[in-house]
C-alpha cells in the first residue's frame, strides 16, 4: 500500500498550493502519483523521478561535448569564475528557497556582483510601480472570503496559474462569498479570447498595448466624466458599465499579469492600475495583486529587500547596493557587454531572455545550476544539477501575496546530489578563501 504524504506545497507557480498529496512507493523512494495538483505541478514532481535526469555536474569541452566532473571541481570552477570576474552577473533565484537566496547574496556581496532575479522579465515593472506609488493589497485568503468583483487584467490563470481560480479567486465559497462563483462578477481584460476570458461575465477584448488608455478611461468613468465612443477598441457604454460594477461591489480585486508588465508603458501601466484601485477605495474596498510566476520569485524580492533594500536589479560592484533598472538589470547589462561572467541559479534565461542576451551569455564564462537540462545549461560552460526544492529538500517560499510558506521534502534526491543551499555554501567557503576573507 502506497504511503501518502499530505499537505505538500507545490513548487511551480506563485499560487503555492499547499494541499497536495503525494503517493510514494512502499520504501518511500519513488513518487507514484500526485493528487490535487494541476497538471504542471504534477509533472514537476513526476519529472524529478525521470530516468534520464542529469545527476552529476558536467563541464563543456573544447569540441562541444560534455565531461562529467565532481561537485568539488564544479565548486572550484564557480568560485574562481566569480572571483576572477570584474563584474559578474548572478541571475535567477526564483526557483529556490529563501535560505539559498540569502547565501547567494553573501557570495554576491563578497565578489561585487550584479544580482537580478526573474522579476526582471516578469513583474519587474510592477516592483518599480509599487515603489513609485505604493500598493493597496490583500492576501489570497481575504480575497477568497470577501472578493465579489474579480478582474484578471492581462493574465490567463487558466493556463499560467491553473488552480488560482478554484482555490482563491473565483470558485471557493468564502465567509462572505458563500455561493462561490455565483457570488462574484468576473472580468477579464485581454486582447485574446483566452480560456480565462471564456469563463468571465465580461470580457473586454482591448487592442493590444492599450492598457494605459483603458485604465485611464475607467478612472474617467468612475468620475462620471465624458468618454469618446471607443477607448482601446472598447465601446464607452461597456467602460461605464464596468466602472459602475466594480464600484458597486463590496470588495474588488484586480489581478494582473504579463499583458500589463510586458507591453509598452510597462511600469506606467501598473501605476495607473494602482490608481484605479485607489479610486475604487473611495467607494468600496479594493486591492490589486500581481500574478507572480515562479514559486519563489516573491521571496527573492523579499530577501533582497531585507538585505539590501531593493527587490531586484542589485548592483553590488561598489561594495554596497545600488539599484537602477535599465542600468543594473540583466538584459541591459548583457546587451551592453557590461558583465564578464554569468552565474545562473533557479531560472532559465536561455529560454526566456531575448536571444541577443542569450548570445552574450554563450560568449562568457558561465555556470548554470539547475536540476533540468535547459537552453541555459546548453550554452553554459558548466552545468551543475541540484536537488529540486519543494520535492527533494524543503525551504521557505513566498506566495504571490507575500505570505511565506514552508515547502516540504517528499523524497530523497539521487544519491550524492547536492541541494542549492549546500552547493552555494561550498562556493561561499571557497570564495572566502580565494578572497582572503575571514
Amino acid at each position: 500500500m502506497a504511503k501518502i504524504v499530505t499537505d505538500v506545497v507545490c513548487p511551480f507557480c506563485g499560487t503555492l498550493c499547499d494541499d497536495l498529496e503525494v503517493a510514494l512507493s512502499d520504501d518511500g523512494e519513488e513518487i507514484l502519483e500526485v493528487y490535487n495538483a494541476c497538471t504542471i505541478g504534477a509533472t514537476k514532481f513526476l519529472h524529478s523521478q525521470a530516468k534520464d535526469r542529469v545527476t552529476r555536474p558536467q563541464m563543456k569541452q573544447e569540441d562541444g561535448s560534455w565531461k562529467e566532473v565532481t561537485y568539488d571541481e564544479a565548486v572550484e570552477y564557480t568560485a574562481n569564475l566569480l572571483v576572477d570576474a570584474k563584474k559578474p552577473l548572478m541571475y535567477g533565484w526564483s526557483s529556490t528557497s529563501c535560505t539559498a537566496q540569502g547565501t547567494g547574496s553573501e557570495i554576491g556581496e563578497i565578489v561585487g556582483a550584479c544580482m537580478d532575479n526573474t522579476a526582471t522579465v516578469c513583474h519587474g515593472s510592477t516592483l518599480i510601480a509599487v515603489q513609485d506609488v505604493g500598493v493597496p493589497s490583500a492576501t489570497l485568503g481575504e480575497i477568497a472570503n470577501r472578493a465579489d468583483r474579480v478582474v484578471f487584467w492581462g493574465c490567463n490563470p487558466a493556463h499560467a496559474h491553473p488552480r488560482h481560480m478554484s482555490r482563491y479567486s473565483i470558485f471557493p465559497r468564502g465567509f462572505f462569498t458563500g455561493k462561490g462563483s455565483k457570488s462574484r462578477k468576473m472580468f477579464v481584460v485581454d486582447p485574446r479570447n483566452t480560456d480565462t476570458a471564456k469563463m468571465a461575465d465580461v470580457h473586454l477584448q482591448l487592442e493590444q498595448g492599450h492598457d494605459y488608455e483603458l485604465l485611464s478611461a475607467i478612472r474617467v468613468a468612475l468620475r462620471g466624466e465624458a468618454l469618446p465612443d471607443f477607448v482601446a477598441g472598447i465601446p464607452k457604454e461597456q467602460i461605464y458599465e464596468t466602472a459602475e460594477t466594480l464600484r458597486s461591489g463590496r470588495f474588488t480585486v484586480i489581478f494582473f499579469g504579463m499583458g500589463v508588465t510586458h507591453s509598452l508603458g510597462k511600469n506606467h501601466n501598473i501605476d495607473i492600475a494602482i490608481a484605479v484601485t485607489r479610486d475604487l477605495n473611495d467607494y468600496t474596498k479594493a486591492a490589486i495583486v500581481p500574478m507572480r510566476g515562479h514559486y519563489n520569485v516573491t521571496g527573492s524580492g523579499q530577501v533582497w529587500g531585507w538585505q539590501f533594500g531593493f527587490p531586484f536589479c542589485l548592483d553590488l560592484t561598489r561594495g554596497f547596493a545600488r539599484y537602477n533598472p535599465g542600468d543594473s538589470s540583466s538584459n541591459d547589462l548583457l546587451i551592453r557587454d557590461e558583465v564578464d561572467a554569468v552565474f545562473v541559479l533557479g531560472s532559465d534565461p536561455g529560454a526566456h531572455f531575448p536571444v541577443g542576451s542569450v548570445k552574450k551569455i554563450a560568449q562568457l564564462p558561465s555556470v548554470c545550476i539547475d536540476p533540468h537540462i535547459t537552453p541555459t545549461s546548453a550554452v553554459s560552460k558548466l552545468h551543475v544539477p541540484v536537488a529540486f526544492v519543494g520535492v527533494e529538500v524543503g525551504g521557505c517560499a513566498y506566495r504571490m501575496d507575500n505570505v511565506p510558506i514552508e515547502t516540504r521534502k517528499v523524497v530523497e534526491p539521487p544519491e550524492g546530489m547536492l541541494t542549492d543551499e549546500e552547493f552555494l555554501q561550498k562556493v561561499l567557503t571557497r570564495v572566502r578563501e580565494l578572497k582572503g576573507a575571514a
Binding site: 534520464d52 515593472s125 476570458a197 510586458h262 507591453s263 535599465g326 538584459n331 531572455f353 536571444v355 546548453a378
Partner: protein, 130 residues
C-alpha cells in the same frame, strides 16, 4: 503565397508549462512552443493550410515555427507564440530603461517556409548562440 504583417505577443500556455517541466530538451517542448497561433483570416491572407511551417521575422531576428489555428481566439491581427526560445528569437529586446524587454507587441512578418524544419529548443539556441 504572400507574406503577412501581424502583431506578435507571447505568454504562457498550459502545454508550455507541462512540456517545460517535462524537459526542455524533449520534442514535446518544441511541439508546445515552436508554434504560431493565427486566426483563419490570417491563413487566407497567408495562402496556406493550418499546420504549415512558417518563418516569423522581425527586425530583431527570425525563426521557423509551425502555424496552427488559434486555440484561444479569435484575435484578429495578432499572432501568438508561447513563451520560449522560439518567441524570444524575434521579440523586441529593448527595455526602454525599465529593465523589462518588450516581449509583447512586436511587429513581425510571416511567410510560408514549408521546406524548413522547426528546431528543438537546444538545437535552436545552439544554432543561434554558439
Amino acid at each position: 503565397m504572400a507574406a503577412i504583417q501581424i502583431n506578435l505577443i507571447s505568454g504562457r500556455t498550459i502545454q508550455q508549462g507541462v512540456s517545460m517541466e517535462n524537459g526542455k530538451e524533449k520534442l514535446a517542448y518544441r511541439d508546445a512552443c515552436g508554434i504560431l497561433e493565427l486566426d483563419d483570416a490570417e491563413f487566407k491572407r497567408l495562402g496556406c493550410f493550418k499546420n504549415t511551417n512558417v518563418r516569423v521575422s522581425s527586425e530583431f531576428g527570425s525563426v521557423v515555427v509551425k502555424a496552427i489555428g488559434a486555440t484561444q481566439g479569435p484575435h484578429p491581427g495578432l499572432g501568438w507564440i508561447p513563451m520560449g526560445p522560439w518567441a524570444n528569437a524575434v521579440v523586441n529586446p529593448n527595455t526602454y530603461s525599465t529593465g523589462m524587454p518588450t516581449f509583447k507587441g512586436t511587429p513581425v512578418t510571416v511567410d510560408v517556409a514549408e521546406d524548413e524544419v522547426v528546431l528543438d529548443a537546444i538545437a535552436l539556441i545552439t544554432e543561434e548562440c554558439l
